[in-house]
């Protein structure tokens, strides 16, 4: 019985690939039970990898090294520009180089708990096991991690972890890891095992006889649409945070590849799980095109406050101490300004909704370093946060040494994604999904420094080992270019392109995207209500209708046409946004990164509901009303507990 | 390197003019009869001439290659341009035009003071006379051209010396900063040293 009228219930879904037995032996068991492909047969097998971020480039390079023939696609002009490049903080690994009690089991435990008991134990344990190999691999590639004077790798504690297990390269860890993977990829390009297709966007998945057999791509420079057929397709196409229009994601990040696969039958799991980061630079006006993240470490020394009175227009320095509300310290005396991301984010939005926000539009709270400067001196503060302060000043024109910073939460990461089994294979045989694009290992909330770990784990170590079990049945029968499925996929792409170009509209794509983003942020952001989500679904449907009626796309299809690219992506965001709201509506519990107003404790804290919602929600596309397939979660090793930060 | 050393030696030699006619002519004579009677007449000069011509030819040839590559590497030029902001600024920006000025000057200079084709003093051993008459006040355009040329040479050296050391010296940041100073010093000394002779003659300090 579905809980509301927006969806129908389907059969449960199960991960049939994860071996039983002791958790620490499952990965080894699976590698042994999975079939292998003879080295001489690998070159007869073609694998398409879409995306060149950490998960895509590492997978393409590794599959190339193994001897498969790989076609690697990205929409950017170079594989090195994938958005993994922007990750700042670091990458976790259970190396226990600090001798501070870390272990594979502790990283596993922290990650399951951090995900608020909405991830699979088997997957998370594998992630923790593989984490140590990732660091070895990256160092061998020449990634310049931070080191100590003795020449050994430096570690830090990140995101409130009690152990120092985070490896980093200044504030540009993602960049350095991605360049390592990119260089490994280019090496395979030179070796002839990987064919690289830049400025190509995947617009359709080709499914033949129930197997994923290829993709339809559009050459973004010439506009030509072509089909490539292969034995398996790997999507490493990242997250969908840009459904909110304003997010910390790159402008090009989109859900189209995943969404096209979803429309072809792949389940979309937990779409409402998004992560909102509390310390971003607020928007400065209607021109705002994206939000910039600042490291969470700022909260170690900065104090968060807003004026006590609503609508207080005075400059921050003119507001006396007695008229400031240090609301995190007040509400969470034990953790103060260091409460977890979701709590800090929600609290900021709450005070702004009360009308006490600061800066343009009242969408911001102060992060004040005056006390830290008085206590430590300006030089010490500069040594710790100098580059962040410089970045803040570059963007806002305000000097944070003299005036408190303004911060506001922003969408940062999406834990949901295409459903995959232990082998990272979706419910469509031959379609594999890695990195942020799958629903993965983070449950309902991702720990800091775990995204890079998961992307590289999937790409370097997991997928190359699991995909062979599928490819052992190949090479699969040739698919002719005029095969019915190929022709249909191509026709659907061309129809869409023609539709946008010929639509007699009067509104720009961005204007719709902005409006969709506002709806999503307001009703499907960090705090959700039954009423709000129902309203949002209605608003999205109306706006989608208007989009198809009024959207205006200039230019032609036979050239570089950035508006046309955006139109297709926004069209898919509309459908995704609706599914996110349906998912959020049905999950009537507060959990992980988000708060459901109807599910809270007496003192206003989040209440998870394990009785009713300890499952993965895997959605099947079915036109208007999606079908829900539940995958029950079992916790043998880490027993669910409620979080408390009081 | 050979060219730079030659320029410095040539400049130092020129300063003999301040010691009077005899000293200057002795110096010029000494260059011709260096090693005599063991070596044939002008043997040092010929070794130097061949060496210099070879070095200059290699220098010009590689600059032509670089220039041609530079032109091909930017087939469409910028509409809007900003002044140079790099290491040796204007010196770097004037390498090619300055080189042409220097090249034209070298031709003139040889015709003037070496072969005397365009110099009023045809008596080859009288180097002093050639300088004094060549830069006589009434021949002021010659002096102006000469000054422009040594200024161009100075600019050329300013960037050239630094660039040569940068290419050879490797990634040492300390040395790069020092080289900037050295290159500037070489350029200023050479320019001043060359400029002082014609100026002195033109303004009648040497006659």
């Amino acid at each position: 019985m579905s809980a509301n009228e927006y969806y129908t219930d389907g059969d449960p879904v199960a991960d049939t690939k994860a071996p039983a037995g002791p958790i620490s032996e499952r990965w080894e068991q699976r590698r042994f039970s999975g079939r292998l492909v003879n080295p001489s047969n690998r070159r007869k097998l073609r694998v398409i990898v879409v995306g060149t971020g950490l998960a895509g480039a590492s997978a393409a390079a590794t599959l190339g090294e193994l001897g498969y023939r790989v076609s690697n696609y990205c929409f950017q002009d170079s594989p090195r520009r994938a958005h993994s490049i922007a990750a700042q903080g670091g990458i976790n690994a259970a190396k226990n180089y600090r001798n501070d009690g870390d272990s594979v089991h502790r990283l596993f435990y922290d990650t399951v708990k951090g995900g608020d008991f909405r991830s699979r134990e088997s997957n998370v344990h594998r992630l923790a096991e593989v984490s140590t190999e990732i660091i070895d691999q990256c160092v061998a590639q020449g990634v310049p991690f931070a080191r100590e004077y003795g020449g050994l790798l430096d570690n830090r504690s990140f995101g409130g972890a009690q152990v120092s297990r985070t490896f980093y390269a200044r504030g540009q860890t993602g960049q350095q890891l991605l360049l390592g993977a990119y260089q490994a990829l280019e090496r395979q390009v030179a070796a002839g095992t990987v064919e690289l297709h830049t400025r190509h966007e995947m617009l359709e998945l080709v499914v033949v006889d129930g197997r994923a057999r290829g993709i339809v791509v559009r050459d973004l420079v010439t506009g030509e649409t072509t089909t490539e057929i292969a034995d398996a397709v790997v999507l490493a196409t990242g997250g969908y945070g840009n459904v909110f229009f304003l997010s910390t994601n790159a402008k090009g990040c989109n859900v189209t590849a995943s969404w096209r696969a979803h429309r072809q039958g792949a389940y979309f799991a937990n779409p409402c799980y998004t992560q909102i980061h509390p310390t971003c630079i607020p928007q400065s006006g209607d021109h705002q095109s994206k939000l910039t993240l600042m490291s969470e470490s700022l909260r170690n020394d900065g104090r968060v406050w807003v004026p006590t009175e609503r609508g207080d227009e005075r400059a921050p320095g003119d507001i006396p101490e007695a008229e400031r509300d240090y609301y995190l310290e007040r509400r969470y005396p034990a953790f103060g300004n260091l409460v977890p991301r979701d709590i800090a984010s929600r609290a900021a939005k709450a005070v702004c909704d009360e009308g006490r926000g600061v800066g343009p539009g009242g969408l911001g709270v102060y992060l004040d370093f005056a006390d830290a400067i008085a206590r430590l001196g300006e030089d010490a503060v500069k040594a710790r946060y100098g580059n962040l302060f410089d970045m803040y000043e570059r963007i806002t024109g305000e000097n944070p040494y003299e005036r408190p910073m303004r911060i506001y939460p922003a969408v940062h990461y999406t834990m949901g994604g295409l459903w995959v089994d232990y082998d990272l294979q979706s419910n469509i045989p031959g379609l594999f999904v890695t990195g942020e694009a799958n629903f993965s290992d983070h449950g309902a909330n991702r720990l800091g420094a775990s995204a890079l770990m998961q992307g590289l784990s999937d790409g370097y170590f997991v997928l190359p080992n699991t995909i062979s079990d599928y490819l052992a049945d190949g090479p699969f029968e040739a698919v002719a270019d005029d095969h019915e499925a190929v022709a249909a996929a191509r026709a659907s792409v061309n129809e869409r392109v023609e539709f946008f170009l010929n639509n007699d509209g009067d509104r720009t794509v961005d204007s719709f995207h902005r409006e969709l983003g506002k709806i999503m942020w307001e009703y499907c952001g960090m705090e959700r209500t039954d009423e709000g989500l129902r309203k949002a679904i209605g608003l999205i449907r109306d706006l989608k209708d208007e989009f198809y009626e009024r959207v205006k796309v200039p230019g032609t299809g036979a050239e570089l046409n950035q508006q046309l690219e955006k139109a297709g992506r926004v069209a898919d965001f509309f459908e995704l946004g609706e599914l996110m709201c349906i998912d959020a509506l049905h999950r009537a519990e507060s959990c992980g990164g988000h708060f459901r107003a109807e599910s809270q404790t007496e003192d206003g804290e989040a209440r998870r509901d394990d009785e009713r919602f300890s499952y993965v929600a895997a959605w099947e596309f079915a036109g208007e009303a999606p079908v829900l397939h539940k995958e029950d979660l079992e916790f043998e090793y880490v027993k669910p507990t409620q979080r408390s930060y009081k | 390197m050979l060219l730079v050393l030659f320029i410095i030696a040539h400049m130092a030699g020129n300063l003999h003019v301040f010691e009077g006619r005899e000293s200057m002519n002795d110096y010029a004579h000494g260059l011709r009869t260096f090693g005599a009677p063991l070596l044939p007449h002008e043997s040092l000069l010929w070794v130097m001439r061949i060496g210099l011509i070879a070095a200059a030819a290699a220098h010009i040839a590689s600059s032509v290659v670089l220039t041609r590559r530079a032109v091909e590497a930017r087939p469409v030029r910028y509409v809007s341009r900003k002044p140079a902001k790099g290491e040796s600024r204007h010196a770097a920006a004037t390498m090619r035009w300055g080189a042409l000025v220097v090249l034209l000057f070298v031709v003139w200079h040889l015709l003037d003071l070496t072969f005397r084709t365009v110099n009023p003093v045809k008596d080859l051993p009288d180097a002093y006379g050639a300088v004094v008459e060549g830069f006589a006040p009434e021949r002021w355009p010659v002096t102006v051209f000469y000054l422009i040329a040594v200024l161009a040479l100075g600019f050329h050296l300013r960037h050239g010396v630094w660039s040569a050391v940068q290419t050879i010296a490797g990634p040492n940041n300390k040395w790069r900063k020092r080289t900037q100073v050295i290159a500037l010093a070489v350029a200023v000394i050479v320019t001043a040293g060359f400029a002082i002779v014609p100026l002195a003659v033109t303004f009648g300090l040497v006659s």
Partner: protein
């Protein structure tokens, strides 16, 4: 503020481009340079004109996609800042701003302000890597690296591959880009075996791609948004000399 923009418009690689003037009446000084162009494009679409194509992605200064020559300077007037992080408060009301693409034979214009920088990828493919196939790595602590070397390697590895160095170089040389990679890898003990082949391969590919030669003008370093210095070029020259001597 009110601005007059003169922007390079070129519909396709074959077409002859030209500068076209546009006027924007109400630009917020809090907008970034690219957001200002977004506003222009919204206006152009509304007026039924073709919007200006330009490359951009992360808009936080790290992906290296944005690539505009603003008033003759790659990434504009603010030092150590990519175009996407440049904000309009650096300009004044009534300014006339020229916007052009990177200009280099090795970076042909695709459309308007978008250029093709795949030549950089080819240079990396010609040796800008360490051959360390997945699974072959020893423990990360097997070879300590002095902090000083690791820091210097990082500074060179901070290159975002935007190509501003090429755009700024009067010779259209890609030396700084290439040298940054040679330096990053050259400082690591694990990449010594390929040090000679790397520099020879990369230089050969660089020259074949049609980049100009380096004459140490230093324009590259002053345009580099990540402040990569000329020391990397010194290192490349040294490595190249040694490798070439050994190969000869």
């Amino acid at each position: 503020m009110k601005l007059k923009l003169r922007i390079w418009r070129q519909p396709n690689p074959e077409a002859k481009g030209k500068m076209v003037s546009y006027v924007l009446d109400d630009v917020s000084e809090d907008a970034s340079f690219l957001e200002m162009l977004d506003v222009l494009n919204e206006q152009l679409i509304a007026d039924g004109e073709d919007p200006v194509a330009f490359d951009h992605d992360c808009r936080e200064g790290i992906c290296g996609a944005c690539s505009l020559v603003i008033d003759g300077q790659p990434h504009g007037p603010q030092a150590a800042t990519t175009t996407c992080q440049l904000h309009m408060r650096k300009f004044r009301d009534g300014d006339i701003i020229d916007i052009e693409p990177w200009r280099a034979g090795a970076f042909p214009v695709v459309k308007d302000l978008v250029v093709d920088r795949t030549a950089f990828d080819r240079i990396i493919a010609a040796g800008g890597y360490i051959s360390a196939p997945t699974g072959t790595a020893p423990d990360a602590h097997a070879a300590p690296i002095p902090k000083q070397d690791a820091d210097a390697a990082f500074s060179a590895a901070a290159c975002i591959g935007c190509g501003a160095c090429v755009a700024a170089c009067p010779n259209g040389s890609g030396m700084l880009f290439m040298a940054a990679k040679v330096t990053h890898l050259g400082l690591m003990p694990q990449c010594q075996p390929e040090r000679a082949t790397r520099v020879l391969g990369m230089v050969a590919e660089h020259d074949a791609a049609g980049f100009g030669g380096c004459t140490n003008t230093g324009e590259c370093a002053s345009a580099c948004p990540k402040e990569i210095g000329l020391d990397v070029i010194g290192r490349l020259n040294r490595d190249f000399r040694k490798a070439a001597a050994r190969a000869a």
